[in-house]
Each structure stands twice: as C-alpha cells, then as structure tokens.
Amino acid sequence: GAGVSQTPSNKVTEKGKYVELRCDPISGHTALYWYRQSLGQGPEFLIYFQGTGAADDSGLPNDRFFAVRPEGSVSTLKIQRTERGDSAVYLCASSLNPGNYGYTFGSGTRLTVV
C-alpha cells in the first residue's frame, strides 16, 4: 500500500481482556517496528522484525506482550490480560531495510483499558 496501515484506529477494552493490534507495512519493506507512545512522551521501542523473525524484542515490557509477523508482511501485536497501564498509542513503522534510514509510521492504534 501507499503507507503503513494500522487497525483499529481506536480500541477500548476492559481490564483483563485480550487484544490484537494489526499493522500492514509498506509493500516491500522488510523491517517492521512497534513502538508505544504515552501522552507527552516520545515513542518507546517495543520490538523490531527483520522479515519474519523478531530481531530485537528487548522493549517488550513483560510476557503479556507478544508480536508476530508470520509471512514477513502484516504484523500483529498481542496483549494478554490487559492492564490500565497498557493504555497508550501503539505505533507501527516500517523501513526498506534495517539500515540507518528514516521510518514510515502509521497513525497508530489508541488503546484504552478501562
């Protein structure tokens, strides 16, 4: 596609529920990144994929968070047993390769846990 697409744009869920956030990167971009952004803060790194594999998942806060990219294109960020502190905007970005290039970001998914 022309840009990075994230769905849904907004998600409200109850504490303890499971959620999935989807990212459709730019076609041909092999590198894909997930970030989390809280109000007034910069994006916080979560995980980076090169192709199908997670090259660096050191930013995932705990084992409730998991992400996959089974075919090297679309990625899904999965959050189990959501907590109110998980509320944030989850941003996805892609780049042509993992070199020192600027990323193209999606508009994010705003997750609210009530």
């Binding site: 994006p43 050191s58 600027g102 970001f105």
Partner: protein
C-alpha cells in the same frame, strides 16, 4: 545507557521569529540521528537523517545540524503551519545485533500568527 534528551519541552514563537531546538544524546555505536515531525493524532513523519558530526540537512524553513554530542533543528521565519511536536531519535546498534532507534520526548512548537 543510551539516552536522548530534547529541550525545551515547549516553545512558543511569533510568526517569523527564528529559533532552534536542541537534542543531546548519549549512545554507543551511533548509526544515525533522525528528526521527525508529529502532528496531533498522527504518527511521526520523517524529516532528516544525519550521519556524522558537521553534517547539515535543509528542508524549506528547517535546517538540522549535528555535532558529536548534540543536534540542532533550526527553524527560520516559522509559520503557524510549522506548529507540531518535533522528535529527535538516534539509531544505535542493538544488543542482539539489530538496530534500535531511541526517541526523545520531543519539543512542542507553537507558532502564533
């Protein structure tokens, strides 16, 4: 620990009043420094990449410069449409051999007509 600090947190300018935003960084294995613009409700939009000290990049009213410890984003004669949050980010070699980009908290710029 890798760190990116931006100042000021917020900046209010009159239209036409030039100024600079600062980004200081501490990182091992710097691969590049990036500037992004973020509008409310949107993802960051890539502006520039700087790779080495002394390098400069320009785009319209914006010019980015880089030293060994910091980067500046100079805004010349800003217009109200330049109002946004400007994010600085550094890319370093990650612990697992990958590339991790670390963002600062941003500077919120308000330009009044």
């Amino acid at each position: 620990e890798d760190q990116v600090t931006q100042s000021p947190e917020a900046l209010r300018l009159q239209e036409g009043e030039s100024s600079s935003l600062n980004c200081s960084y501490t990182v091992s294995g710097l691969r590049g420094l990036f500037w992004y613009r973020q509008d409310p409700g949107k993802g960051p939009e890539f502006l520039f990449t700087l790779y080495s000290a002394g390098e400069e990049k320009e785009k319209e009213r914006l010019k980015a410069t880089l030293t060994k410890k910091e980067s500046f984003l100079h805004i010349t004669a800003p217009k109200p449409e330049d109002s946004a949050t400007y994010l600085c980010a550094v890319q370093a070699t990650g612990g697992s051999g990958g590339f991790k980009t670390i963002f600062g908290a941003g500077t919120r710029l308000f330009v009044k007509a």
